[in-house]
């Protein structure tokens, strides 16, 4: 079903533009012009955050954190196998998809662990990445309580996800 959503969306939009007698091509080109400029402006931010994540991982700090945090996670009903995914998820989208695929192949796509991991991925975002890119063109230097609140909510989501996968 979901495969049809995007083509239908595009089709509908183009038909609507024709109905409204709008020059589709000219407007599409006008909008598309902004893409390169936007990417050039956000590139340094993406690069810095990816470099930081890579260093964090290769230095072994992540695996050290996993060791410390896993007993706490166990208490909250989160399987310790998901620690790495949960820790890296706020930082890297592609990285956490890599971990997700790893979990699938290790435990099987229909196991409890894999289903938990899927729901966690679905209800969370790469928080630091989103925050960095969103403020990259503004004058904002301080995000105040935005990041802690987002992290806390994601974490609550993780606990809910593990609970739900047990029931549903």
């Amino acid at each position: 079903m979901s495969n049809y959503i995007l083509p239908i969306l595009f089709l509908f939009l183009i038909l609507y533009c024709i109905y409204k007698k709008i020059n589709t091509y000219d407007h599409f080109v006008k909008g598309a012009k902004g893409a390169i400029k936007l990417v050039v402006e956000i590139f340094p931010f993406i690069a810095s955050i990816l470099i930081a994540v890579a260093l964090l991982r290769v230095s072994g700090i992540t695996s050290f954190l996993v060791k410390i945090i896993s007993p706490v996670f166990k208490l909250l009903g989160i399987p310790p196998q998901l620690c790495e995914l949960i820790i890296l998820r706020p930082f890297t989208g592609s990285g956490s998809y890599g971990i997700l695929e790893n979990i699938f192949s290790t435990y099987g796509a229909d196991s409890y662990i894999s289903r938990c991991a899927s729901v966690i991925m679905g209800c969370s975002e790469t928080i630091f990445y989103v925050a960095t890119i969103y403020i990259s063109q503004t004058k904002v230097k301080k995000l105040l309580y935005a990041i802690p609140v987002a992290l806390f909510c994601s974490f609550v989501g993780t606990i809910i996800a593990c609970l739900l996968c047990r029931v549903i």
């Binding site: 979901s2 902004g34 936007l38 993406i46 690069a47 699938f104 729901v119 403020i135 004058k139």
Partner: protein
Amino acid sequence: MMLASILVLLVTNPSAMLSEMIGSSTQALDLCIELCAIYVIWLGFVELLDASGLSEKLAKLLRPLIKKIFKVDNSEIQKIIALNLSANMLGIGNASTPMGIRAMNALDDKSGKANFSMIMLIVINATSIQLLPTTIIGLRTSAGSQNPADIIIPTLIATICTTLLGIFLVHLIDKIKNKCKRRRK
């Protein structure tokens, strides 16, 4: 974060540092090229939405909600936020990013600090309000799952919970802050 990592690497594996850094910045460049291709399509799409007046209609539909949640009165900003949220809900996260950046620029009051609406936008985007986790279902299918779509309902419940919690917390913190300010006066 970077400092700590480099310090640890100095002890454990000093030769890995530079190659790791170059590797990940190459990865960032790849990602940007990919993003550029995606943005071309979505920014063109949004321009068409704008020109046809559809984005105006969408914003009108979401206006009461946005006004209440974001406390924004400017209709132009409401429109951008409406586009950002709808792209998010459809699971086309890459389309929502350029709209998010545009909305943040419009909300910026140049004080160097994030204001209430900006924080709300970040929190809502960061808790992800995806209705259809298409990528994950795709990954599960290719991993040989018998029923790849059975995560939709738990994901939906979890994501609604986190988003509502986020909205509630941001409002709560804002209220407490305002009270403290009043007391000081």
